[in-house]
Amino acid sequence: MNQPPFPRLLVANRGEIAVRVIRACRELGIESVAVYSEPDRLAPHVLQADLSVPIGPARATESYLDGGKLIAAARQTNAEAIHPGYGFLAENPDFARAVGEAGLVFIGPPPEAIAAMGDKTRARTLMQDAGVPVVPGSDAVTGGQDAAAAARDIGFPLMLKAAAGGGGKGMRIVRALDELEPALNRARSEAEQAFGDPRVYLERFLERPRHIEIQVLADGFGTVVHLGERECSIQRRHQKLIEESPSPVVDEALRERMGRVAIEAARAVGYQGAGTVEFLFVDGEFYFLEMNTRIQVEHPVTELVTGVDLVQEQIRVAAGSPLGWEPDPGWPLGHAIECRIGGEDPFNGFLPSAGRITELEAPAGPGVRWDSGISAGYEVGLHYDPLLAKLVVHGADRLQAINRMRRSLEELHVAGIITTQSFHLAVMEEPDFLAGRLSIEYVDDHPDLLRDADLPLLEAAAIAAVLLEEERRDTPRPESARTDGRPRVRQLSGWQRAGVTDGAGWGRRS
């Protein structure tokens, strides 16, 4: 093995991304340090790390979001570097700065680059100056007159967005001039409440765009490369659910155009490490949305179609190595799809589902990758993000990848909690998805996705239920005694029945 980039690295995260980073460390010969909150004491990322340090109670603000504790844990274990993963402190410039000031290496871009991309209006201006196309819009507006003037330039319908924002807070669609002032007041007050910053700007509203993003990698010697696109249009409430690479609508010429623009965007903020430039794409045109200054959840699809280990590259570059390779003109190799497996009940409005995972069998076989932060016996709590695992497949082409994903989803078996598995399976069979007809409204446009099970499936289930019922009634030891330890199942069924229609409400979507 070559000399490792660092002897020891602390992973300031939990769940599947912590496991992912630890895997990269092991392959690079780096000792990994896990941190954990009280309920995560025996979580998979702790079991897989070489060292581990407790950092406090379940509440994230007192554990995974407490930068002081993370830096202290790195010092205590003599770790030289900190990998922030995604979420938590990954895009917090103050944390990145504090890590550097403590004499440690932050695996990510310079704090100035994080800050520049974190402020949406500032990032827009920077991008415009760098020649990156942005959605036509305004700077932050001060009052009604200012907004009305900007609105006349942009045209309707338009979107109000919080300058400090994200996640849908402070966002409003305005379809006509007389709606503008009341919408502005509400958006400003929402933005003030959510971010402590009432600044709002205007943007043209795009009808049914796609979300397409470009992965970039930059070293400390001025080399910036792109690794092609990911299409992430299938989202719910701005949370991505399914991602793929390549996009069904991006050809080689468009990929090169978008890639060049993404590289310019990264250069404009002095970027280093792995990053993602997100675009909205509609009618053949793409517009800068934002840059994520971290490794992303969906990075595995790019890894599968390029063969590049993005997390290892992040670590190597942060250690001061030059990239030392060029993108292969043969990329993308085949087609990759990722489904995010969340602890949510897709038939019940994606309500969080928590509880102990009693059984877990992950799919395997040709072209299948399972990145997970769960195991049998693991208690899924309600303190953290509901993302449990990512099922990623690689095929020779899109159709093979879809068939492979469907097969893998059928193999996946998780008992004890409800997951989004059935949602993904429904998408893999839906004609618009099969044809690559996607937009960020896909989930809302397909309310029938979670239709009831087909009759043959229902018949098989009914036959099984009757046979099991007879078996139960004939057996001296009643099955119900064994299920006493599984309250979740009963309560969910209780809720579904409480759905007040009739006894037939089982498994039905309202």
Partner: protein, 167 residues
């Protein structure tokens, strides 16, 4: 024995026979085995194997089959007949809404005695940093409310009771 199996909006009549089941006028050779120490089952219909997982619920079974979760209520012929004879006890009886997860009760959207339609928001519970709206799955009248705003609830806690519409 005959059973009425209800799920996904359908009620199927399944009768057990010496060698399997009768369903929709078809005689099927059917057997089921359990994979030891798990909820995994293997249903055989003739030579065809159908893998599934099943766990017992209050009045039926929750099946994981073909990547889907299907809840099935099951009644034998006698129970079914008794219930059919006394419809008043079924549809009009108060029904309970229980917390599907642990969380904080943020808002009560309804009050006692209020009539609600299918889809009306009842209660908002915060969990996993998300606001989760529990909605009525059918029309009804709120009979009583047990949940209090600002309190935490555990899975299975009673939130409110309902009187269902007739018909």
């Amino acid at each position: 024995m005959k059973y009425y199996v209800t799920g996904a909006g359908e009620t199927l009549l399944v009768e057990t026979t010496e060698t399997g089941v009768r369903i929709a006028d078809r005689e099927l050779d059917a057997h089921i085995d359990t994979v030891a120490g798990s909820t995994r089952r293997h249903l055989r219909i003739g030579e065809r194997g159908i893998p599934l997982a099943a766990r017992r619920a209050d009045d039926g079974w929750v099946m994981e089959i073909g990547g889907r979760v299907v809840g099935l209520a099951i009644e034998d012929e006698r129970t079914h007949a008794i219930r059919e004879l006394a419809p008043g006890l079924g549809a009009g009886a108060p029904r309970e809404v229980r917390a599907p997860m642990a969380g904080l009760v943020l808002r009560l959207e309804v009050s006692e005695g209020q009539h609600v339609d299918s889809g009306t928001a009842l209660i908002v519970i915060e969990a996993m940093k998300m606001e989760n709206e529990l909605r009525a799955q059918g029309p009804g009248t709120v009979a009583s409310i047990a949940a209090k705003e600002g309190t935490t609830v555990n899975p299975g806690d009673l939130l409110l009771t309902f009187a269902t519409e007739e018909g």
